[in-house]
């Protein structure tokens, strides 16, 4: 035991000594330096409800949670660096994904749980070794959303070549459990990725990517209820070209071969890419493509984006990707109306596009139109105006229903702001009005339900130039109505921030009162108060604390009448900064 303690103490002492070494060094390229942070935080969540036994409001955080982070970067001389990225929490809280509702987790499940990261990336000149948990993004159609625990490297040798390879586990086996709470279960999955590319700064990038994942069907007992063991293999070719005057072209084409049930027999008539993947009865092969081109400059951007995802295209690197669609959007941004300083008073951002689902004709045709406009104008030093408009529409035939689906959403917002002041105080008054209309068609009767929302917000922020206090005040009115339903909300909110302890501590507080009323029920009342402090205990140590409380009292909208709850949340933590 003593020996083990010594083993643990040794790296800690080494780390501290390295840190003190780093502080003393002043040379341009010191033999050793360290930067980054390490910290620990504790979060408490409390919920009390009345009357006792009322089940109306569920806790939304774990009762107690401790999180650690350890992310220093050590540099040895000019060429070698050793960055750590360790972030982990003591209590699993998974809701979605392979570890949903996992209770007691094994060590291997803890290591690969997406809530924890244990990464180490030693780098020597152009060679980076990747160890532990890595979130690697190769491209938009191959891999990018999945954390994998394993080993690999990223090499950028002279000549512009880039070679990347990584293999490891993205999830451990989790047995199905009926609950409560139920666990979907998951098979142990090994992910392997490889990329070979060449690039020249501001000229071009080209790469070919390969991504593979395979489940081990023997690793969950009982097996998952919703899915079968799977295997996927994706190849993609990415190219980016950059031209003069900000013009660019980006293209990616990908093919996926995906087996949805490895338990079904092998089938020679199905797509294979041996030795990487062999076709089973449930194997599908499909394609995806992504293209964008346009121009970027200081005052004008324009671009077209096209994305096609085949109905059978599935890649393990993006597990939530929506297949069977074709999106095309036109985006632009420009600055106009020059001011005295040579800048611009007006900024416009707009996009227009359509998404077509069912390119493969395996479902009913659905179309979405999407349009956005944001138009900001700073007329002078005092007055600015922001106007926005967002629209989307969704249409699909009815199928077995007499009417098709048709939903249309329109949002219009206008936001004038006025600033004035003197040598002591600057006042900011901002008004924001938004009108939103959402129409939904009932597929059985054909009747359209209109859902209208009016939102008005008034904000006042005085900034005192001779005092340390910075308060803000706001009042908001929200009204939502549709046939048979009316919701009215009014919020008063005020915040203040001030430095304390000779500016070593920054304190911020906020109080918020919400009034809400549904139909003719009596009103609900809600008060939220919060306090936040950042205290620089020393040059290297910060102590942060956040305390909030939320008291909600219902009227007679629900049974039991006048039910109420009190939520409390305390987060406190220390953050240590390595190096200077």
């Amino acid at each position: 035991m003593k020996k083990r303690t010594n083993k643990l103490l040794f790296p800690l002492l080494l780390l501290l000594s390295m840190n003190s070494m780093a502080q003393d060094s002043t040379a341009t390229n010191p033999p050793f330096s360290i930067s980054g942070t390490a910290g620990v935080s504790y979060e408490y969540y409390g919920l009390s409800k009345k009357p006792t036994g009322w089940t109306g409001f569920s806790p939304r955080k774990p009762w107690n949670q401790v999180r650690f982070n350890f992310s220093p970067t050590m540099k040895f001389g000019k060429n070698f660096s050793l960055p750590f990225n360790f972030n982990f929490a003591m209590k699993p809280t998974n809701y979605a994904g392979p570890y949903n509702n996992i209770g007691k987790q094994s060590f291997s499940q803890f290591i690969t749980n997406p809530m924890n990261s244990f990464g180490l990336n030693p780098t020597y000149k152009w060679a980076e070794l990747q160890l532990g948990t890595q979130y690697l993004s190769y491209s938009e159609l191959s891999t990018g959303d999945i954390g994998v625990f394993g080993a690999g490297f990223d090499l950028r040798p002279p000549g512009g070549y880039r070679i990347r390879i990584f293999t490891g586990l993205s999830q451990q086996g989790v047995s199905f459990f009926t609950g409560p709470p139920s666990t979907n279960g998951a098979y142990k999955r090994r992910n392997t990725m490889f990329s070979l590319g060449k690039e020249k700064e501001n000229k071009y990038e080209v790469a070919v990517n390969f991504v593979k994942a395979k489940d081990d069907s023997s690793t969950a007992n009982p097996p998952p209820a919703l899915i079968k063991p799977q295997e996927g293999f994706t190849m993609s070719l990415v190219s980016k070209l950059f031209f003069n005057k900000g013009w660019y072209v980006k293209l990616e084409g990908a093919q996926s071969i995906y087996t949805k049930d490895l338990l079904l027999p092998l089938d020679t008539s199905k797509a294979s890419f041996k030795p990487f993947i062999e076709g089973h009865t449930s194997t599908v092969k499909d394609y995806a493509g992504d293209a964008s081109f346009g121009k970027r400059s200081t005052n004008f951007d324009i671009g077209v984006k096209l994305k096609y995802i085949g109905a059978g295209f599935q890649t393990p690197g993006y597990p939530f990707m929506l297949p069977d669609r074709f999106d095309y959007t036109l985006n632009t941004r420009f600055n106009a109306w020059k001011n005295k300083d040579g800048g611009h008073k007006m900024n416009v951002v707009a996009s227009l596009g359509q998404r077509v689902n069912n390119v493969s004709n395996t479902t009913l045709k659905a179309k979405q139109f999407i349009g956005n406009l944001n138009w900001f104008t700073q007329f002078d030093d005092h007055f600015s105006l922001n106007v926005s408009f967002n629209n989307f529409g969704f249409q699909s035939p009815g199928g077995i229903n007499p009417y098709g689906i048709k939903n249309v959403s329109n949002d219009f917002g206008v936001n004038p702001s006025y600033t004035w002041g003197n040598e002591k105080v600057i006042h900011l008054l901002s008004m924001n009005y938004n009108y939103s209309k959402y129409d939904e068609r009932d597929v059985l009767t054909g009747s359209i339900t209109s859902n209208n929302t009016h939102t008005a917000l008034l904000t006042y922020v005085p900034t005192f130039l001779t005092k340390e206090l910075t308060p803000d005040f706001s009042v908001m009115y929200f009204n939502n109505s549709m046939p048979g339903f009316k919701l009215k909300l009014i919020t008063f909110s005020s915040g203040i921030s001030w430095p304390a302890f000779k500016k070593k501590m920054n304190l911020r507080g906020q109080v918020q009162y919400n009034y809400s009323r549904t139909n003719s029920f009596t009103n609900n009342n809600n008060i939220i108060a919060s306090l936040n402090s950042d205290w620089r205990v020393s040059k290297k140590l910060i102590w942060t604390t956040f305390i909030s409380t939320n008291h909600f009292k219902y009227g007679n909208e629900i049974t039991p009448n006048n039910a109420r709850y009190l939520e409390s949340n305390v987060r406190t933590g220390f953050q240590y900064k390595f190096g200077k």
Partner: protein
Amino acid sequence: MHGIWRVMSVQDFNTSLENKTPIMKKLFLIAIICLSATICFAQFGVNLAVSPQPPGALLSWGTKDLTYIVSGGQPGAPPRQVLIKTTLTTSDGTPVATTNLSKARIKLVGQGTAVFYAADVIPLDAMVFTGKYKTSLDKTGKLPSGTYQLCVQLVTPVDFFPQAEERCRTFLLAAYQLPIPMMPANEDVMEAEKAQTAITFRWTPLAPKPAEQVKYIVTVFEVLDKQTPMQALRSNQPLLTKEIIGTTQFIWQPQLSFIKTKIWDEEPGANKDKLKAGDKPVKHVSGDPHVDTRAALDSIDATTFIWTIQTVNFNGIPFGDGNINGDGISEPNVFTVIKDNRRIKTGPPAKIIYQENMRKLKPGQQIYYPPIKKD
């Protein structure tokens, strides 16, 4: 049965020449009667039920989508070996698929009631699909949308002789498209003063609308420090889990304070030395490329959320329909709530800042973000 014995009298077995012709006739009659009796003996009661709108991916067909019930048989008689012969056609009779009986698995029936599901009736490894239907299935795992007729019959294993009446059902095949989260849009930025009162969520409905009732579960997760949005979705407890029936909108009163605890003690530009070889600073708008957006976002109390819709039926069974996760969870959207709205107005549009920060930048890469003007 009594009738048969009455026909076979002693006189019938008189083999004299003059009696041969009538005897042959009688024997032939007996043989026919015996054969039809055997067939009648072997007939089973069958019932086929197919959901009027099953999932588009044949692999996703569950117990409620297809049920084939075989009943009857002689009490105490040994179980019989049968094959299930399935024929799939379009509504106009175009052949789509038939069972390759030489590859079909033998089933035992005849003792009580036997219930078969999709995996037995349309086993993908024993079905032979034709033309464009095979192409579609090989590519997507689904058949083209349309009205189909499924006919099922029990046959004997060797000579494929019918063992029960054929049963047929018509159904509409159209793969379900999971909802698409629309509002807040992906990478949207909203002001905390508004968000603290209400955030409106809208999504497209499950299409086509199924015959059964659909439940949408809206979930919202806070993206904690040092987490990617997808990591937050896969690991955090949701701040909101709300079941919605009958509409595709939900107004959330978050009851949260958007003051953020600052963990990072980084001034703008602090990440300058984290650039790796080969990383390019992103020159944005007209600004200084040596300012780090991450630090700037921290200084304006930005809290990021990821939200999605899970679609389930009334029994809580997810609508997956070929989705690789099978959990009915749609592709999520990410949005950010920013406390200090002055920053949104004075800087480049916050959406651009966020997009560049979250999607395009690698750790250490930088874009411009202007400081607050105090004059």
